[in-house]
Subunit: 262 residues, 2 copies
DNA sequence: CGTATTTTTGACTTGACTCAAAGCAGGTGG
DNA sequence: CCACCTGCTTTGAGTCAAGTCAAAAATACG
């Protein structure tokens, strides 16, 4: 991904933060060094809004993100669609296609970036030859499952403000793991894309952000996000309950109370 | 699972329909014959409402469902909880725990049933020794990912009636794959559990079913479900694709042999 | 510099939630 | 065999969070 502090990306060469230059802790848990040993990767630069693949196309292999921010989208036959994930450096694209011959979602760059293609045949051969690699893939898939289900819980039990807060915290945490700031970053996606991911309308996303900002928890200026009160924002998402029997179904007023209790 | 036509299960021995006696296509795509060759399974009978494991407990290995119906539930620190899946014969429990030492969800039997435990150490050894087994596991995990995301799409774009219709069709399809009726079955779960899974309140589930019944699409009497107009019910879920450019959703997982051991 | 896109805000509507209560089956114990 | 729990389901009435529609404001882009 490009330098996060720059509001506008102009250079076409991909830039990697020093802290991420050597060993990268991949969110997917995938061991890149091992991978590079056994699979001939194909590096591919992509520009913002470029489509890496669409659902239904031949599945040519996993993509390991080396730089940039991506969204994955699934579309129903009748046109309903939903963003299923936002993906950053170190994460995989296409893992849900294993066991089929076709891509299962659209993958679209939100940023200029770079992906490392792991050709299907070579990858399969390596997986059969190197058990540690197969296990790493298994772990990566299980991690994706856990993340999906954590979101399922949030989407089913949180209101709009809480969902937005959860996403902002999640992005911050993932940026932090890559050596960027946890509390200040630029959103790569539009309000509509956030809404699609969170199961909300774009206007609701805007209003939720406005409310969180009014509470002094964050500062939002279009794509620029500052998390001002991290702990309080975490509290909004309902973590750390003092009373374990309370159901967190709060709107603005209860959220404000939580903040006041800081 | 017990004989579906019987409203009440009394015998304690697990009964398998003749059509499921020989070859069973596992929804997980998992190759059981291969598994049995390399992993010493432990068969375990369970009774309705029995807890197989809870989140946070030591992860002792996968469970392969041989009979019965199960729910998996995740719980947040503040008590929010959600049913993440309903699982039937041939499906796995615990796959999302790979790469961790702990169970990631509660697994609870909704039925009397039987699970086949695949001890962790033996399973890992077998995965390292038999590449085909590791691949089968990868495919099973990828299949779970696709299913999760298909639900994500439904939950994010469908109203209450459509979600309920989708679940009823999904259960019918899975029962049919096991040799049972696609259009008549008994729900093993309560309205509250359905609601938790679909992101709805239990009253909303009831009302949605009442509405679908009023349209003549289904007949509901408490747990007894009859799908009267299958095609129309499918249409309710929004699948009507007039445009032939519809995308390939998913391929059926490779057929796996299940040797019904004595 | 003009056009397109994205974001924000306001006014209104609505589908699902909440609260409440009644009906129904199953199981238990007398 | 019946009375009585208990848990599950259904239905109704009122409320509210988020959706919808509309328009203006801010920014991006060719």
């Amino acid at each position: 991904m490009q330098a996060l502090a720059q509001p506008k990306v102009r250079s076409s060469n991909v830039q990697v933060l020093p802290s991420a230059q050597g060993a990268v802790s991949l969110r997917s848990g995938f061991d890149v060094a091992l991978l590079l040993e056994h699979v001939p990767i194909i590096k591919r630069h992509v520009h913002a809004s470029e489509v890496l693949h669409r659902a239904g196309e031949a599945f040519g292999g996993l993509l390991l993100i080396h730089a940039g921010c991506f969204k994955t989208v699934i579309t129903a036959a009748d046109g309903r669609e939903r963003v299923t994930a936002f993906r950053l450096r170190g994460e995989l694209l296409g893992s849900e296609a294993f066991g089929t011959d076709f891509q299962q979602c659209d993958a679209i760059a939100l940023d200029d970036g770079e992906v490392w293609e792991l050709p299907r045949q070579a990858m399969n051969a390596a997986l059969a030859r190197v058990p540690a690699l197969a296990e790493a893939l298994t772990v990566a898939l299980a991690t994706e499952l856990r993340q999906d289900r954590a979101w399922l819980l949030s989407l089913g039990t949180h209101n709009a403000e809480q969902r937005v807060a959860t996403l902002l915290l999640d992005l911050g945490q993932r940026f932090a793991a890559l050596g960027f700031s946890r509390t200040q970053y630029l959103l790569r996606m539009t309000r509509a894309e956030i809404g699609s991911f969170l199961g909300l309308q774009l206007e609701t996303v805007t209003r939720a952000m406005t409310n969180l900002a009014a509470l002094g928890l964050i500062c939002v200026q279009r794509k620029d996000i500052h998390i001002l009160q991290h702990a309080a924002l975490v509290r909004v998402t309902g973590a750390a309950a003092t009373n374990p029997s309370c159901k967190v179904k709060s709107l603005s007023a209860p959220v404000a109370l939580l903040v006041a209790a800081a």
